[in-house]
């Protein structure tokens, strides 16, 4: 299977700080068309393309834009979620630092569609070194009349501001992200109201992931049918995958949606490193399920992956070889969620800590079957009662690992010696 470079075509090729460079290779054609269209026409093209969110949930992008279009307000916002906090995910970093013009163009087009004159890019603190590139790209667009007042002499104004995070995974959740831009602690809000009605500063807002936005200019340029020609029926287009862990060729790859996970690992990325055996794969970042080597023969398409209990989400594929202990990795994962819970609601604040303690108990030979039963109860409560996706997704890796690697958990409960995690017990790093 060949890589299909659509979003990444000019990554590493153009100067990310000079808009002219991107114009010279055909960039901003989508924006040129969009400024002459009316809002509903733009939204129809995006809806028709079948584009779905690349940030996690796979929500249809056109519908999201339509909500904000339908709400009356003189001020509206476009927000780009560049928080990329999901452990194992590096794809947005590549787009942000190597072709930020795709993001700028997509935001401006959405701005034109809903009648917004202002966009924010929320950049995670860990990517502070990218801010300078982004700012230079924005300035270069302003200098070339692609942003600012009277874009391309169409009478449409649009400006983009950069807002920084400073280390908080939960700020990737859309309402927490709004709070953070507003100068507050990044704690999720109760919903409704939804962002399309009341988002950033209480105004109608469209928020999308970096990769989602990067598709929009190209869809406008080439048309919805072009986009539907790639990928699967339910998930058209390409997808960026970050393939990492114990794999021969680590990196960020772009393939049509629907590529088979097994092919991706063994054919495209060279298989497991150093001739080791495959133990497990975690797809979808830290909040994705752990699956075993028998389960990896599946197409990576948004609906297929969710029907099998997973989330294609951000397209992260973490490959784990048999030298690792799955219980140890699940403990590392539970520690992450314990540290990132914002503490606003009890099921998650208390639940993530309890969950970590249970896994640690098992890992250190203090667990019993009763512990597994308690984990069941706890995860059920967390799923039902957590305010935001963090508290719900924290349970997914744990329950999937127990289901798919039950034997390993029982071994640790039985206090059988585990040569793989023995040296690591009692701490997390």
């Amino acid at each position: 299977m060949q890589e299909l470079k659509v979003l990444t075509e000019f990554c590493g090729v153009i100067n990310p700080k000079d808009a002219k460079d991107y114009i010279n290779v055909g960039g901003f054609e989508g924006l040129k068309k969009a400024v002459k269209m009316d809002g509903q026409e733009i939204i129809d093209v995006i809806s028709d393309s079948g584009l779905r969110g690349r940030g996690g949930a796979g929500f249809p992008t056109g519908r999201k834009i339509q909500f904000a279009y339908n709400t009356d307000s003189d001020i509206k916002y476009i927000v780009c979620n560049a928080d990329e906090g999901e452990p194992g995910t590096n794809k947005d970093r590549v787009l942000l630092s190597e072709n930020p013009f795709l993001i700028i163009e997509g935001m401006a087009i959405m701005g034109k569609a809903i009648g917004s004159n202002c966009g924010y890019i929320y950049l995670r603190g860990e990517y502070s070194y990218i801010r300078e590139i982004l700012q230079a790209a924005i300035d270069s667009c302003v200098a070339n009349n692609l942003l600012g007042k009277n874009i391309l002499d169409s009478g449409f104004d649009f400006e983009i501001r950069i807002s920084s995070g400073a280390g908080a995974y939960v700020c990737g959740e859309e309402t927490a992200l709004f709070e953070s831009i507003e100068g507050k602690r990044g704690e999720p809000r109760f919903r409704p109201p939804f962002p399309g009605v009341s988002g950033l500063f209480g105004k109608p807002t469209v928020l999308n992931n970096v990769e989602t936005i990067a598709n929009i200019g190209l869809i406008l340029k080439h048309g919805a049918d072009w986009f539907k020609g790639m990928g699967t029926e339910g998930s058209p287009g390409t997808k960026l995958f970050t393939v990492i862990g114990n794999i021969k060729h680590r990196g960020i790859y772009e393939f049509p949606m629907g590529i088979n996970l097994k092919d991706l690992i063994f054919n495209c990325c060279g298989g497991v490193e150093d001739g080791h055996q495959l133990l497990a794969v975690q797809a979808g970042g830290a909040s994705g399920p752990f699956i075993n080597a028998e389960q990896i023969d599946m197409p990576l398409d948004i609906d297929y992956v969710s029907s099998s209990g997973g989330r294609l989400g951000c397209g992260t594929i973490m490959v784990i070889d048999e030298t690792n202990c799955i219980v140890d990795i699940v403990a590392n994962n539970a520690y992450f969620f314990k540290g990132e819970s914002c503490g606003k609601c009890t099921p998650c604040r208390e639940g993530t800590t309890r969950l970590y303690n249970f896994i640690e108990d098992i890992s250190q030979g203090r667990g019993s079957l009763e512990t597994l039963r308690k984990i069941d109860d706890l995860t059920e409560t967390m799923n039902a009662a957590s305010l935001c996706g963090l508290g719900r997704s924290a349970t997914v890796p744990v329950t999937s690992a127990i289901r798919n690697f039950r034997g390993e958990f029982i071994k640790h409960i039985d206090k059988d010696y585990c040569p793989k995690c023995q040296g690591k017990r009692g701490d997390i790093a």
Partner: protein
């Protein structure tokens, strides 16, 4: 910046803090920008510093403090000139992050969460820094180092001690 200022921030520094915050009076949404700029000139966000920010921006001091304490890359306690964020998430973990961490701890003579006596380095745990394609990775003041080994992490730190890297 003078790191003997931990306990008593100089008046001249506080004047500088006020100068940074003053343009954003009644604009609480600029708090992150103010905090990030102030961070460059103060040794830590002590109560003197947060009081000045609160006064100039006209927001409660508790809001400033609760804001800073929420974000993991901001510190209300002592920190060194260089903050070494050691990634601890699974993709780095399964490629030897623990050994890299232990080597750094031993080399600097401090544990994670601590600051060296000369106030040069703070070692901090960090979740994924978005460079798993070169794990195990660390982040030092906006610079990323990857594919580390227990040996190479020491060389990285030495570069800062020698002043080769600023």
């Amino acid at each position: 910046m003078d790191r003997t200022e931990y306990n008593q921030v100089k008046a001249s520094t506080l004047v500088e803090v006020a100068r940074i915050a003053a343009p954003y009076r009644d604009k609480p949404e600029m708090l992150m920008e103010v905090v990030l700029s102030v961070e460059e000139i103060v040794p830590m966000f002590s109560s003197q510093v947060t009081a000045v920010i609160a006064r100039e921006m006209n927001i409660p001091q508790t809001q400033v403090y609760s804001f800073i304490s929420f974000y993991k890359m901001l510190y209300t306690g002592k920190r060194g000139k260089y903050i070494v964020h050691m990634c601890q998430s699974a993709p780095c973990h399964i490629r030897g992050a623990k050994e890299v961490l232990e080597s750094a701890e031993e080399f600097l003579g401090i544990k994670v969460g601590e600051t060296t006596e000369d106030h040069m380095f703070t070692l901090a745990y960090s979740p994924c820094i978005g460079n798993c394609d070169i794990s195990p990775a660390i982040l030092i003041n906006g610079r990323v180092y990857g594919n580390l080994t227990p040996e190479s992490v020491r060389d990285v730190l030495k570069g800062y001690i020698r002043g080769e890297v600023q």
